[in-house]
Symmetry: C2
Subunit: 69 residues, 2 copies
DNA sequence: ATCCCTAATGCAATAAACTGCACTTTGTTC
DNA sequence: GAACAAAGTGCAGTTTATTGCATTAGGGAT
Protein backbone atom coordinates (compact mmCIF):
# COMPACT_ATOMS: atom_id res chain seq x y z
CA UNK A 1 0.00 0.00 0.00
CA UNK A 2 1.46 3.30 -0.99
CA UNK A 3 1.75 6.24 1.34
CA UNK A 4 -0.97 8.23 -0.39
CA UNK A 5 -3.53 5.57 0.38
CA UNK A 6 -2.11 4.99 3.84
CA UNK A 7 -2.39 8.69 4.63
CA UNK A 8 -5.85 8.86 3.16
CA UNK A 9 -7.14 5.91 5.16
CA UNK A 10 -5.44 6.90 8.39
CA UNK A 11 -6.85 10.41 8.24
CA UNK A 12 -10.39 9.34 7.56
CA UNK A 13 -10.49 6.52 10.10
CA UNK A 14 -8.84 8.66 12.73
CA UNK A 15 -11.10 11.65 12.13
CA UNK A 16 -14.20 9.51 12.26
CA UNK A 17 -13.04 7.78 15.42
CA UNK A 18 -12.69 11.23 16.96
CA UNK A 19 -16.17 12.04 15.67
CA UNK A 20 -15.21 15.39 14.17
CA UNK A 21 -16.20 16.79 10.80
CA UNK A 22 -13.85 17.76 8.00
CA UNK A 23 -14.69 21.37 8.77
CA UNK A 24 -13.80 20.96 12.43
CA UNK A 25 -10.55 19.22 11.57
CA UNK A 26 -9.79 22.06 9.19
CA UNK A 27 -10.26 24.59 11.97
CA UNK A 28 -8.21 22.64 14.49
CA UNK A 29 -5.32 21.99 12.13
CA UNK A 30 -5.23 25.25 10.23
CA UNK A 31 -5.54 23.38 6.95
CA UNK A 32 -8.34 24.48 4.68
CA UNK A 33 -11.48 22.40 4.42
CA UNK A 34 -10.82 22.00 0.74
CA UNK A 35 -7.42 20.46 1.28
CA UNK A 36 -8.62 18.17 4.05
CA UNK A 37 -11.32 16.80 1.77
CA UNK A 38 -8.91 16.30 -1.11
CA UNK A 39 -6.42 14.37 0.96
CA UNK A 40 -9.12 12.17 2.44
CA UNK A 41 -10.21 11.30 -1.06
CA UNK A 42 -6.65 10.40 -1.98
CA UNK A 43 -6.19 13.31 -4.34
CA UNK A 44 -3.42 15.83 -4.37
CA UNK A 45 0.16 15.83 -3.25
CA UNK A 46 0.21 17.48 0.17
CA UNK A 47 3.29 19.16 1.54
CA UNK A 48 5.08 17.91 4.63
CA UNK A 49 3.76 20.87 6.59
CA UNK A 50 0.16 20.06 5.71
CA UNK A 51 0.67 16.42 6.62
CA UNK A 52 2.20 17.37 9.97
CA UNK A 53 -0.60 19.78 10.82
CA UNK A 54 -3.18 17.08 10.30
CA UNK A 55 -1.14 14.38 12.00
CA UNK A 56 -0.70 16.55 15.08
CA UNK A 57 -4.39 17.14 15.55
CA UNK A 58 -5.30 13.53 14.84
CA UNK A 59 -2.66 12.05 17.09
CA UNK A 60 -1.07 10.23 14.19
CA UNK A 61 2.65 9.69 14.30
CA UNK A 62 4.79 9.88 11.17
CA UNK A 63 7.96 7.88 11.50
CA UNK A 64 10.99 7.31 9.34
CA UNK A 65 12.77 4.01 9.60
CA UNK A 66 15.26 2.02 7.62
CA UNK A 67 13.64 -0.70 5.56
CA UNK A 68 14.30 -4.26 6.60
CA UNK A 69 15.20 -6.10 3.40
CA UNK B 1 12.42 16.08 17.19
CA UNK B 2 10.14 17.35 14.46
CA UNK B 3 9.66 15.58 11.20
CA UNK B 4 11.60 18.14 9.20
CA UNK B 5 14.73 17.45 11.19
CA UNK B 6 14.08 13.73 11.22
CA UNK B 7 13.73 13.70 7.45
CA UNK B 8 16.79 15.87 7.04
CA UNK B 9 18.96 13.67 9.23
CA UNK B 10 17.68 10.40 7.85
CA UNK B 11 18.29 11.50 4.28
CA UNK B 12 21.79 12.70 4.88
CA UNK B 13 22.89 9.75 7.02
CA UNK B 14 21.35 7.27 4.64
CA UNK B 15 22.83 8.89 1.56
CA UNK B 16 26.27 9.03 3.08
CA UNK B 17 26.05 5.44 4.22
CA UNK B 18 25.31 4.52 0.62
CA UNK B 19 28.27 6.67 -0.43
CA UNK B 20 26.41 8.51 -3.15
CA UNK B 21 26.49 12.22 -3.91
CA UNK B 22 23.54 14.57 -3.87
CA UNK B 23 23.76 14.68 -7.66
CA UNK B 24 23.63 10.91 -7.90
CA UNK B 25 20.70 10.70 -5.53
CA UNK B 26 18.96 13.35 -7.63
CA UNK B 27 19.42 11.21 -10.74
CA UNK B 28 18.27 8.01 -9.07
CA UNK B 29 15.20 9.54 -7.47
CA UNK B 30 14.11 11.93 -10.20
CA UNK B 31 14.21 14.81 -7.71
CA UNK B 32 16.28 17.78 -8.75
CA UNK B 33 19.68 18.32 -7.20
CA UNK B 34 18.49 21.65 -5.91
CA UNK B 35 15.60 20.13 -3.99
CA UNK B 36 17.70 17.30 -2.58
CA UNK B 37 20.19 19.80 -1.22
CA UNK B 38 17.48 21.98 0.30
CA UNK B 39 15.83 19.09 2.11
CA UNK B 40 19.14 17.84 3.47
CA UNK B 41 19.76 21.27 4.90
CA UNK B 42 16.35 21.25 6.55
CA UNK B 43 14.94 23.96 4.34
CA UNK B 44 11.79 23.86 2.32
CA UNK B 45 8.53 22.05 2.65
CA UNK B 46 8.75 19.03 0.37
CA UNK B 47 5.66 17.42 -1.08
CA UNK B 48 4.66 13.88 -0.26
CA UNK B 49 5.68 12.78 -3.72
CA UNK B 50 9.16 14.22 -3.35
CA UNK B 51 9.56 12.58 0.05
CA UNK B 52 8.44 9.23 -1.35
CA UNK B 53 10.81 9.41 -4.32
CA UNK B 54 13.76 9.97 -2.00
CA UNK B 55 12.61 7.42 0.56
CA UNK B 56 12.28 4.76 -2.14
CA UNK B 57 15.83 5.19 -3.39
CA UNK B 58 17.30 5.40 0.09
CA UNK B 59 15.44 2.40 1.45
CA UNK B 60 13.78 4.51 4.10
CA UNK B 61 10.33 3.51 5.20
CA UNK B 62 7.68 6.11 5.99
CA UNK B 63 5.03 4.84 8.35
CA UNK B 64 1.90 6.24 9.87
CA UNK B 65 0.88 5.02 13.29
CA UNK B 66 -1.40 6.07 16.09
CA UNK B 67 0.40 7.88 18.84
CA UNK B 68 0.70 6.14 22.19
CA UNK B 69 -0.42 8.67 24.79
C1' DA C 1 -42.07 17.25 0.70
C1' DT C 2 -38.64 20.83 3.34
C1' DC C 3 -34.72 21.79 6.28
C1' DC C 4 -30.13 21.05 7.85
C1' DC C 5 -25.63 19.21 7.98
C1' DT C 6 -21.76 17.03 5.77
C1' DA C 7 -19.13 15.98 1.93
C1' DA C 8 -17.75 16.69 -2.91
C1' DT C 9 -16.64 19.75 -6.91
C1' DG C 10 -15.67 23.85 -10.49
C1' DC C 11 -13.45 27.85 -10.89
C1' DA C 12 -10.16 31.52 -10.17
C1' DA C 13 -6.48 33.68 -7.42
C1' DT C 14 -2.49 33.30 -4.51
C1' DA C 15 1.40 31.07 -2.31
C1' DA C 16 4.92 28.07 -2.62
C1' DA C 17 7.43 23.88 -4.28
C1' DC C 18 10.16 22.47 -7.98
C1' DT C 19 13.34 23.24 -11.61
C1' DG C 20 17.54 24.78 -14.34
C1' DC C 21 21.34 27.66 -14.82
C1' DA C 22 25.23 30.12 -13.34
C1' DC C 23 28.09 31.19 -9.65
C1' DT C 24 30.47 30.81 -5.12
C1' DT C 25 32.18 28.25 -1.29
C1' DT C 26 34.35 24.39 0.77
C1' DG C 27 37.20 20.48 1.06
C1' DT C 28 40.44 17.30 -0.86
C1' DT C 29 44.05 15.71 -3.74
C1' DC C 30 47.99 16.51 -6.35
C1' DG D 1 50.01 27.08 -4.61
C1' DA D 2 46.59 24.80 -8.65
C1' DA D 3 42.81 21.57 -9.91
C1' DC D 4 39.03 19.09 -9.14
C1' DA D 5 34.61 17.47 -7.01
C1' DA D 6 30.85 18.13 -3.94
C1' DA D 7 27.93 21.17 -1.67
C1' DG D 8 25.67 25.62 -1.10
C1' DT D 9 23.29 29.92 -3.09
C1' DG D 10 20.79 33.71 -6.09
C1' DC D 11 17.77 34.28 -9.52
C1' DA D 12 13.97 33.53 -12.77
C1' DG D 13 10.56 30.50 -14.80
C1' DT D 14 7.26 26.75 -14.48
C1' DT D 15 4.38 23.83 -12.08
C1' DT D 16 1.37 22.78 -8.48
C1' DA D 17 -0.48 22.92 -3.77
C1' DT D 18 -3.41 25.74 -1.17
C1' DT D 19 -7.14 28.71 -0.55
C1' DG D 20 -11.93 30.91 -0.76
C1' DC D 21 -16.24 31.13 -2.72
C1' DA D 22 -20.20 29.26 -4.77
C1' DT D 23 -22.51 25.30 -6.05
C1' DT D 24 -24.10 20.49 -6.06
C1' DA D 25 -25.10 15.91 -4.06
C1' DG D 26 -26.35 12.99 -0.31
C1' DG D 27 -28.22 11.52 3.95
C1' DG D 28 -31.01 12.20 8.26
C1' DA D 29 -34.66 14.38 10.80
C1' DT D 30 -39.04 16.81 11.26
Amino acid sequence: MDLHQELQNALRRRRESLAITQAHLADLSGVSLRTVAEIERGNGNPSLMTICKLADVLGVDLRLMIKKP
